[in-house]
């Protein structure tokens, strides 16, 4: 009897240690992006000066106001990768697979390969700690994951500076990312939550969906070689607009007369339904 109890206790103890290492749901396979959310922003790309619905700080607004799209003609900018919170929003396909310890078959990591820019996000599932702050930052960052029921929750740090919207709005290298991967049969929802107190007043939460693809297994390469696009650019010259002098910021207002300029400037309040009241008040006050 004592032996049986001991065996059960040992089994439970083993299970409690081993369980977190085994996937609750298998995410492995090829996944195609579906673009059900924010398609105009994600495929054609966002318009200049459109910060609507983003909880940005004043600092972030000025970063974007000063941003010139000519900057991406610079050779060192041409192959820049979308950082991990943003890359899932792009026209990308994903390949996901599990890495198992060959001796124990415990789950060591889940790999998420993104076709766009050939990026490989490694989600460590073996309990290892994040590196110290002074370690190298990368486009995909350093990720650790755990299963919360059937949801894979991932914490990502050490991300390079990058976009939150492809019109100059940034997240800094201090930003952190929480991700949830949720599989519903052939559909997978990816949730990203970016926190960056210097540039976001509230967490920025986005979702995007993917559909499993059983019939395609392409090579998914993304060769990128930078070239001199603007000949004769002066050494040390960086395209930008001086504060208050970016004439393109008004283009959005002209193309979308129903959206007041103040709303397009963004900020946390433009995310919430209550902002409708303010919009109506603006309308009543004579503003578009």
């Amino acid at each position: 009897m004592i032996q049986v109890r001991f065996a059960l206790t040992a089994l439970l103890a083993f299970a409690s240690i081993a369980l977190p290492a085994f996937a609750q749901v298998d995410l492995s396979g090829n996944w195609n992006a579906m673009f059900l959310e924010d398609q105009p922003e994600r495929i054609p790309g966002p318009e200049l000066g459109d910060y609507l619905g983003l909880p940005i700080t004043d600092a972030n607004r000025l970063r974007a106001d000063s941003w010139s799209s000519s900057r991406i003609t610079m050779p060192e900018q041409q192959c820049r990768v979308h950082v991990s919170p943003y890359i899932f929003r792009g026209p990308t396909n994903l390949r996901i697979w599990e890495e198992k310890d060959p001796e124990t078959q415990n789950l060591v990591a889940i790999h998420v390969y993104s076709q766009t820019y050939e990026q490989n996000m490694v989600i460590w599932m073996d309990g290892r700690p994040h590196p110290p702050e002074y370690a190298l930052h990368t486009w995909m960052g350093f990720s650790t994951g755990k299963w919360e029921g059937d949801v894979l929750t991932v914490h990502t740090t050490h991300i390079k500076t990058g976009w939150i919207r492809r019109n100059g709005l940034v997240e800094s290298d201090r930003a952190t990312l929480t991700q949830h991967f949720i599989r519903h049969g052939d559909i997978m929802t990816h949730v990203s939550i970016v926190e960056d107190p210097g540039y976001l007043t509230e967490p920025l939460i986005k979702t995007q969906d993917f559909r499993v693809n059983l019939n395609y297994n392409g090579n998914w390469l993304y060769p990128c070689e930078s070239v001199e696009e603007v000949v004769g650019r002066k050494e040390g010259e960086v395209p930008n607009y001086l504060p208050g002098q970016n004439k393109f910021l008004k283009e959005y207002e002209a193309a979308h007369p129903m959206v007041p300029y103040e709303a397009a400037r963004g900020g946390a309040e433009t995310m919430y339904p209550e902002y409708q009241k303010k919009l109506k008040a603006m309308e009543a006050g004579g503003k578009k």
């Binding site: 600092a59 930052h137 290298d173 960086v238 930008n240």
Partner: protein, 331 residues
């Protein structure tokens, strides 16, 4: 020959000038009064033969190999015991070279104690003629670093002679071949001062950038010592050009900043772009006829302050003032 020349110059300057060490410059960098007894020194492998030593003060670059060790910068003297212990732990042979990327206290304050932990390999008449020629590692730097750390005869020296560079160079660069790789010390004129250098470890493919590049603060441009914002932008552009990415603007050449986390080219581009943008704004303010105080009031760095503006010893206003003074016609 240069060792002998600098050593003799050092003796002359020391006897005539060194009566009292002026720590004003060191204190201006705000970290001299910290409690260093609790400070930790972290050793982080970079790639090839290179490690990054991270503590309070500037990052220290360490190269180790069969011949011994090289350090780029030495941090604050109060951390030197820990720095020397880290070098001895990683290198079976003694430290032979200290390289200074500039004259700032957080890079050079530990020169004397760290140097004394090492040795200089000498031979022939040098060994015989100069009794202490083997004592301590050599300290290499661009000539203006020595000028800034020492003082003419009769003047008070800002640093003790033991901390001064023992071998300096005047040209575009000085090269060494040590521990199986070429090392280039490349002068960057008119950057933070007139004596800044990058140190490029060619085989390891690592560049120690010194304080010209930081991830946690604006560049500490000292206009009185020949620094300019334009020169800083150009130096960072050269750093971008020197580094070669492995894939999609990532990896390849790694860059150790003066302060902050380990980087590759992407962060250098980000930093260079930020300084160039602020430069353009300050130029415009000058063109509009704004005074220095009016320019400061415009808060021209406010979009970058969340990343670079929290450095207590070098505020956004101090950066703007340095930029303004270096760009103002007739500077």
């Amino acid at each position: 020959m240069t060792i002998l020349r600098t050593a003799l110059a050092g003796v002359a300057l020391a006897t005539a000038a060194f009566a009292q060490v002026d720590l004003t410059a060191a204190e201006s960098h705000g970290e001299q009064n910290k409690d260093f007894s609790k400070a930790e020194l972290h050793v982080w492998p970079v790639q090839g033969n290179i490690y990054m030593l991270v503590g309070d003060g500037a990052n220290i670059t360490l190269q180790v190999g069969k011949q011994g060790a090289v350090v780029v910068n030495t941090g604050f003297a109060k951390m030197s015991d820990k720095v020397v212990a880290a070098i001895k732990k990683l290198s079976e042979r003694p430290l032979q070279y200290v390289i200074n990327t500039n004259s700032y206290p957080d890079s050079t304050d530990g020169n004397a104690p760290v140097k004394l932990s090492g040795t200089t390999i000498t031979g022939a008449n040098v060994t015989n003629d100069i009794r202490d020629s083997r004592e301590g590692a050599q300290i290499l730097a661009q000539e203006n670093v020595l000028t800034r750390m020492s003082a003419p005869t009769g003047k008070k020296s800002p640093t003790p002679p033991d901390a001064w560079p023992t071998d300096t160079f005047l040209g575009k660069e000085k090269t060494l071949f040590f521990n199986g790789e070429g090392i280039e010390i490349i002068h960057q004129p008119e950057a933070l001062t007139d004596g800044d250098s990058f140190v490029f470890f060619r085989r390891s493919d690592v560049i120690s950038a010194g304080d010209i590049f930081n991830t946690d603060g604006y560049p500490v441009i000292d206009v009185e010592k020949g620094g300019t914002i334009e020169g800083t932008v150009l130096a960072l552009t050269r750093l971008v050009d020197m580094s070669i990415v492995e894939h999609e603007e990532e990896g390849g050449t790694l860059v150790i900043p003066g302060h902050g986390h380990l980087c590759d080219q992407a962060e250098v581009v980000e930093y260079r772009d930020m300084i160039a943008i602020v430069r353009d704004r300050v130029k415009d303010a000058i063109k509009r006829g704004l005074t220095l105080e009016q320019t400061k009031a415009e808060k021209l760095t406010r979009d970058y302050d969340p990343t670079y503006g929290h450095n207590g010893y070098w505020t956004p206003d101090m950066f703007i003032e340095a930029a303004y003074k270096s760009l103002k016609p007739g500077k």
